[in-house]
Symmetry: C2
Subunit: 314 residues, 2 copies
């Protein structure tokens, strides 16, 4: 039924396993008491490059045939996918051309440069990102790797929920954030194959609620100027992701920036781990909709920890 099969996810996991961390699953008694549920946080903030995007990026680059990878790869990203592709290209010994919105956090630009990638800054709009990337493709012959609307990226991201379900097979619910939809689609696919009775939810920032609107309308619906402190979730849903998310995700919960920052603060204070605002969105959704999660075993994908310490929202 879906273009990504269970065998694809397993092949991707074998392909990327030597290059990624098997991240830990953490729990917090005080957070469980606060919510009235058992939360199992899959800590992708401890992943290579500090975010789950290492999985999809590495899988995508390593899956490219020789002819397509020889002139290098290019992508656009506010940060984590950029680092993932830069790292994957470095591993593969090919050039990476990364388009980043000029508003991306300094810490992310620095990290991308640290992997030896070529950075081109653009305006912080979907259009400017795509145009800049297209120009680079023409000039260099590099292969474009979408941050999310790509089956090999989705398949790589799916390995995260696969590991979580392997470790906590009793989960009843799983929740992840949705931006472009790569992680969300991958999470939903792993739930579908490895624990079909599990309910799948998404969390999304109110200021970038294109996925929510798309689910309501049944067709992809864009938001004009997406804006949220969750800077990793501003991209618009891709059609490949939407097809999967529409079929497998039960509901999308919206949260505002204040709720995101409060959820982020609670995780920092209680769990002693550094997460970025985008990463706090599913937990913010849980705090806002406790009745949905009451008494349940809930898997939460913590997506990343790349924050600019000089610009914290506390």
């Amino acid at each position: 039924m879906f273009k990504v099969t269970q065998a694809d996810i397993e092949a991707a996991h074998e392909r990327i396993r030597p290059f990624i961390h098997h991240t830990p699953v953490m729990s917090s008694q005080s957070i469980n008491e606060m919510v009235g549920a058992e939360l199992y946080f899959k800590c992708e903030n401890f992943q290579k490059i500090g975010a789950f995007k290492a999985r999809g990026g590495i899988n995508a680059v390593l899956s490219l045939p020789e002819a397509e990878r020889k002139n290098g790869v290019t992508t656009h990203s506010s940060g984590n996918h950029a680092q993932a592709i830069a790292l994957a290209a470095k591993m593969a010994g090919i050039p990476a051309y990364i388009v980043m919105p000029e508003t991306a956090p300094e810490v992310k630009k620095k990290a991308v440069a640290g992997y030896g990638a070529n950075i081109t800054l653009c305006e912080p709009t979907q259009q400017s990102r795509e145009e800049t990337c297209a120009r680079i493709q023409e000039e260099t012959g590099a292969t474009f790797i979408s941050p999310y609307n790509d089956y090999s990226v989705i398949t790589g991201q799916a390995t995260c929920a696969k590991e979580l379900i392997d470790e906590q097979p009793e989960l009843e619910i799983i929740i992840a954030p949705v931006g472009g939809g790569g992680l969300m689609a991958g999470t939903a696919l792993s739930a579908h194959y490895y624990k079909p009775e599990m309910i799948v939810y998404a969390g999304e920032p109110e200021g970038a609620k294109d996925s929510y609107l798309s689910m309501q309308a049944g067709i992809i619906t864009k938001v004009d100027k997406p804006l949220s402190i969750a800077d990793g979730l501003l991209a618009s849903m891709g059609d490949k992701n939407f097809e999967i998310i529409k079929a497998l995700v039960k509901d999308i919960f919206l949260v505002n920036d204040k709720e995101i920052v409060e959820a982020m603060r609670i995780i920092w204070e209680r769990m002693k781990i550094v997460i970025e605002p985008s990463c706090a969105v599913p937990f913010a959704a849980i705090l806002k909709n406790k009745e949905v999660f009451q008494g349940k075993k809930v898997g939460v994908i913590l997506t990343g920890g790349n924050v600019d310490l000089a610009k914290l929202p506390f």
Copy 2:
């Protein structure tokens, strides 16, 4: 030779095991490259109450005979030992009377209150702490539990290095911060019993270098007005701790507040974990004295993660 035996450490570990977390040991490739050594961080920031002090506090309270514990327990602490005793007393079902310097971080005062302990604020001097505690003992009949100068506290803290050596038996060096000396003495004892050839170092803030001066002089030497961002390390070395530290610790490295904040920032950014300034002192010492650690397998006790997010030094 020492008042605390290997059997004491093992008994303490059994006693506290049901009440504490077996904390993870973490590594960071980028930090290892930065230092030129293999560092194994024992993450006591993930411990109950967010710090290693849970070990010593729980061991001390649970080791008290019935007659001594019935009127409750009292102590003075800038925060983490306070929480440890408050938690241990709650577990034992006895009252806790906690003396805290008025300058202690809000987050620590709130946490102590959260365990149902009675808090008395005092001036931020050793004298005021001790006098206030003595008055409370007289009024309530509570048993005083020293934050560090107590064999059952030292024995509890020793279980931390014991776990680290169990997990990483190849360690060649171990380093911890020194304030009052409870953790440092416990760490040195576990090294002595479980890996005698391992070299033991301490890190200490320059603004509170009483341990450094004491080691130089061969007798306990106080610092008049200790001051450092590492607020957990301002207490003066106890005589029980000094006896052990003098015999087993090879050297104490001093670091200033700027070096502590820089080390803290690197751990937050690279490891994505929240640590408090006191906790960054040993890593700051490693960064400052790289030649000592070059090519070695080094165990680093990360002591705690209780920071006030509203007052970060970045």
